[in-house]
Amino acid sequence: MNNEENMDDILKKILEEESFITSQTIDYQEYLPDFIARALEDLEVIETNALELDNDCENMEAINAMFRSFHNIKGSSGFVGQDVIQKIAHQTETLMDGCRKNTIKVNKQIIDLILNSVDFIKQICEDINITSDETFLEIVYVHLSNLEKISGKKDNNTEINSDIETDKINIDDINDDINDEYLYDFISETKEHLEIINKNMCGLKKDPANKDTMHNIFRSLHSIKGLAGFAGQTVIQRITHDTETLIDGCCKEIISPDENIIDLISKSNDYIEKICDDISLVKNQTFLEELHGHLSSIGNFKPTDDQLTKSVRKENPVNKSEEKEEPVIDLEEKETPAVESFVENFMQDFIEEAKEHIESIELKLLLLEKDTNNREIICSMFRSFHNIKGSAGFVNQTLIQKIAGQTEILIDKCRKDRCKVNKDIIDLILNSADLIKKVCDDNTLNTNKKFINDVDIHLHDLENTEVNFKNVPEEAFEAPQKLGEILVEQNILSEHEVKEILDKQKDYPELKFGQIAVKEGKTQVKEIIGAIRTQQSKVTAATEDYMRIATSRVDNLVDMIGELIINQSLVEQEVVGIFDSKNLNNLLRMSRITKDIQNLAMQLRMVSLKSTFNKITRIARDTINELGKDINFSTSGDETEIDRIITEKLNDPLVHLVKNAISHGIESKEERIKRNKESKGNVKVMAYNKRSCIYIEVADDGGGIDCQKVHKKALEKNLIDPNREYSEKEVLDFILLPGFSTVDNDNVNNISGRGVGMDVVKTEISKISGKIEIINKPGKGCTFILKIPVNHAVMNGTIVDINGQNYIIPTINLKKIIQPQEEDWISVQGIRSMIRVRDEIIPLINLNKVFGLANKEDSSKLIVIIEMDQKFKALPVKNVVGRREIVIKPVSPEFSQLKFVSSMSILGDGKVSLILDIENLFETEGAA
């Protein structure tokens, strides 16, 4: 295929879609941050799976997971009007689909393409405005055309449409008779929605241009539409659909919402309400005619926009009582894109829910095999299928709906003892479960002809089983046991009463449990509705596991708890001696609880290293490819938890270490063979917890560091004192010096070698008060160990009094506290500038210089020796107050210029104290 032509093609396509999408976008911008957060999560999933796929090209699970994530992104990006993302996601999805169906072989190139897509989407997520950058778009187009070249299926879409159309017609045959069950519930919910609409209508009358009100009405109507379809109320569905389209037009400013329009909407409401009050109206010819007049007057106002008119093209008069299914077909096939993406958001939920149901169905089938007469099992399976069917309809999964519906009918037969449970039936149900599971795992199966064929055969089988029992009249289904159970649980009915009602039900099979219950005066209508609600909510309750919280809230919580602890200790100090033992005990218990709360709050900020490790795995892979080396990169311990702030800071150092290990650490193949090693190199990143510290090791089995070379280079670059002997450990630490690199200048490549990397590692790690240790085994490899305190927000600090004010020194940097003798001082030009401590001469920090203080040196009675990188400095202090756990607070931006303060803290007495930046103390003094 000619690349350029192709590109133009895509460009055109994108432009078309662009204008199309913008015209469709209702103002969803407010959802953008949420969308980005979700998209980034999805991208992470994709990346992880892509890397897995890299190891195992046949990993179907990974492909499916990636497909799902891309699909999610595609769906929600359309929703927020991010058409470029949508386009990328769509094209990649198509590619993934090819992989999934084995029409495309997964190889490195494909994975690269997918990762590219991920990168593009990520880029857009980070900077939404980039989508208006021409150059960026061009790159994206090239990428898209590459994708398309490989997936190479353009006419897919048309196929899909025709397939769906045929599906829809089948489904309605099944639908009709099953839906009565929810009618009761449907009506009550519809009425609620109508109330909302009416409320909003009042608002709209006052302010016809108010989009919010319009959206509210739109949403409510859409809900009713969904519910109506579910309950088989096609007439209501039709009204709501038309009205919805009308409002949609108003929202998009295609038609202006004047009084006529508002009247029409009000009228629609009235009609729906009328139907709700008397369901039989839908069979009343005069009513229908009247309604038809109303609908066609809506039709007159309908938006003229291309897309929207399309959705109402079947406006011709329809005799509803005869051609009931027709409007339904229209709806499903032509729902506006906005609505579609709305539905896609539910897709994931639906799939999870469906899978749960299927799982329970499978389990129950196995039980049923042993006990074919167990009604309870049959009923619960029936419920599961019914639930699947219901929600499938909601998310447009017609195939699933069909399967579940048909299976449900079969199970119902069994339930009503009109069909004996035997192995064949169990097999059939199992098969249904399998098919649904397949569709859940692979959404594209909906359009897979072969698969649809399979399903048809299966459906046919299901029906045939049914045929034998056709003589038994069909009727509405119910779940009496469950409803009864709930009512008993809620102490509304006694078990005895439930039984009574069930007995009655046998006499009036056309009545539902609830109806009989009310008729018999056993319960109130309200209670029944409540019970039905419970019945439904029980199904969905189990899915919620996580919630998204703004980090600022968690931070505030941690702040407040810190404050609580401070106050607690203040109170404790006051009341000791005043309180009797009983009160003291209470107080102690309270303080324990407070500490527990603090721990819990701290845990809220902890995240696993998983995403960090994913990122470096990705980078490692890219680096390995770029260098063309044969290296096995692995990580372990990604479940280790660490403060969220630290994970951010860890990224850069780890990237540098890993890149170094890959580019410098691992030798070339020939060299490795010469050294009797496997030709494939190994780089491993490990994380583990030890004594309230996190250890992260980056280990390679390469050549290790050549100490002599390092020493020589360091001398050459004038980084060290040529007259000193250095221990091996010290020499190794040279590589952490800024500007140090053993790579000769002409060898600097784009991956590493400029001597910045290790310096970055060092500074970043020391920022999070971590340490680096290097274990070097010449010829065998090298391991960098990062030791990082688990909790960045809390550290052990020593409080010292400098010049009458308390400062905090990180205890980790504190070496010694001494009381100097007069003879220990060494003066330079009459100023004490050094101190002798056991044969070592340690430079003194000049407080005047650091703190800008007047000369008050005499008040300092003690010397604190601080240590940094095996170098020492003496800090004169007046007193050492104590050592305790302190909560670190960032320096307010106003003081960010103050280099000697690394952060602040609030001490037990509620006073603020400054934490000294030890590194800076060494720097400023070193320079002086």
Binding site: K849, F851, G852, K889, S892, E894, K911, V912
Partner: protein, 163 residues
């Protein structure tokens, strides 16, 4: 620029009345123990702990180059929330005493004089007339602009020893 009329919190500095838009005021607190931060300009008194949050404290007298006054029980700290470069931050400003909240309408406000004021006219939103008195309405964001503060800090650096 900003909406001029509305409610203002007035306070006094050396017998002069000043006002700041009430919407900027987060709360008014009494004196708290201030932790000194070395190497900052004189008018930056240091930091306090406001219920777990560390906020800087500025003495408005010193900022306006007036003579320092010893804090007493009437001394107040007004905690203001400012929005500079889209970052919200809190800061406490120390004033002699807080007076009242007054409603000043647009026509009671005159533009700031062009010269001859101790307070830099940049800091003024305008002059409000309340009950026969003149209240200088301050543009608090300008005054505690953190950028300016950083500049001051770096200026101070060289002179640190002389302080």
């Amino acid at each position: 620029m900003e909406l001029h009329d509305g409610k203002y919190l007035t306070f006094s500095l050396k017998k002069e009345e000043y006002g700041i838009p009430i919407l900027k005021v987060k709360e008014i607190i009494g004196l708290m123990e201030i932790t000194d931060v070395p190497k900052t300009p004189d008018f930056v008194k240091g930091v306090i702990n406001l219920r777990g949050k560390i906020i800087p404290i500025m003495d408005l007298r010193l900022k306006f180059m007036m003579e320092e006054k010893e804090y007493n029980e009437r001394t107040c700290t007004i905690v203001v929330e400012t929005n500079v470069n889209n970052t919200k931050s809190l800061m406490g400003i120390v004033v002699d005493t807080v007076s009242e909240v007054v409603n000043i309408s647009q026509n009671e406000i005159e533009p700031p004089p062009q010269y001859g004021n101790k307070v830099d006219e940049d800091f003024l939103l305008g002059m409000g007339k309340v009950k026969g008195k003149v209240v200088m309405l301050l543009n608090i964001e300008k005054i505690i602009n953190s950028e300016e503060m950083i500049n001051l800090l770096s200026d101070m650096k060289g002179n640190a020893v002389n302080v």
